[in-house]
Amino acid sequence: MPEQDLLYFEDMSPGTIFPLGPKDVTADEIIAFAMEFDPQPMHIDAEAGAASILGGLAASGWHTCAMMMRMMADSYLLRTAAEGAPGIDHVRWRKPVLAGDVLSGETRVLEARESRSRPGIGIVSLRHELRNQIGDTVIESENPVMVRLRPQEGGEA
């Protein structure tokens, strides 16, 4: 992507909103992820899921996080001068994500400040939320991400 088309720190002022999704959640994807990372019965077997507290074949919470990560990448991260995230403040799995659900939501910029220790880098605090097709919030999360400042014209490359 040409440098001038990238989103930089200056493009992520507090209040900026990026839409996430929609994403269809399929039984095949739920089972494939769970077989590798979280093979509990309610994540790999529809009947066991229906009999569980979750009420159906339910995505592993880690899968929901990974799906949300992909939605962020597609919405804005891949066109952002991002340098990774040091971690995640919290993830709340508010409702089960079930096979057949359609997830959508948004990332909102909460706060943005320049790094004191690393010139040219800003720390942007993000809040993410996904809802299912009936409007129930299924996941909420907050994390900081490092984003480069826009290069100065005429400055060093």
């Binding site: 590798e36 990372f37 979280d38 093979p39 509990q40 309610m42 569980s52 507290i53 979750l54 339910a58 592993s60 919470g61 880690w62 899968h63 996080c65 990974a66 799906m67 990560m69 992909r70 990448a73 991260l77 891949l78 991002a82 340098e83 990774g84 995230a85 040091p86 971690g87 995640i88 403040d89 919290h90 993830v91 709340r92 799995w93 089960p96 994390n143 490092m146």
Partner: protein, 160 residues
């Protein structure tokens, strides 16, 4: 059976180790986190990480993989000994995920779990919330990841 005796509160439980191959790092990242430092070894050289490294979600989900394996072994052992194993429910969430250092292709990462405590859940009689800390270390002993999680757990009735 009690949380204190059977859940080794405050004791670090080794969950085994996992080697992150370049192929697996790229396969996970292409599906879930296709940032350049996770999918392209050449492009990764020019980033802050300096090389191809695993998505933090890949590193963290692998803790779950080894944690589930450990729990399955415990359940099988309990059943073999004629004891009733606990039942696990969903998790309300995780906090304080820290990705301290990148996990590069070829790194062998060792995972562990420390059960911090448990409290009965008023809304679901018989169930408790078990609080756990997760950690991952590289071969040199450096911590690469940690987080705090919670999970619903139903202990067998007394006498089981």
């Amino acid at each position: 059976m009690s949380i204190e005796t059977d859940y080794e509160l405050g004791v670090r439980r080794d969950l085994g180790s996992h080697v992150f191959t370049a192929e697996a790092i790229i396969a996970f990242a292409r599906q879930f986190d296709p940032q350049r430092f996770h999918v392209d070894a050449e492009a990764a050289k020019n980033t802050v990480f300096g090389g191809l490294c695993a998505s933090g979600w890949h590193t963290s989900a692998t803790w779950m993989k080894l944690n589930i394996r450990s729990i399955e072994n415990d359940v099988a052992k309990a059943q073999a000994d004629g004891r009733t194993p606990p039942e696990f429910g969903p998790s309300p969430g995780i906090r304080n995920i820290r990705w301290f250092k990148p996990v590069f292709a070829g790194d062998e990462i060792r995972y562990s779990r420390i059960n911090r405590g448990a409290r009965p859940l008023n809304s679901r009689p018989g169930w408790s919330v078990l609080e756990t800390s997760a950690e991952a270390h590289d071969k040199a002993g450096n911590i690469v990841m940690s987080f705090d999680s919670a999970v619903l757990i139903k202990l067998p009735e007394a006498g089981d």
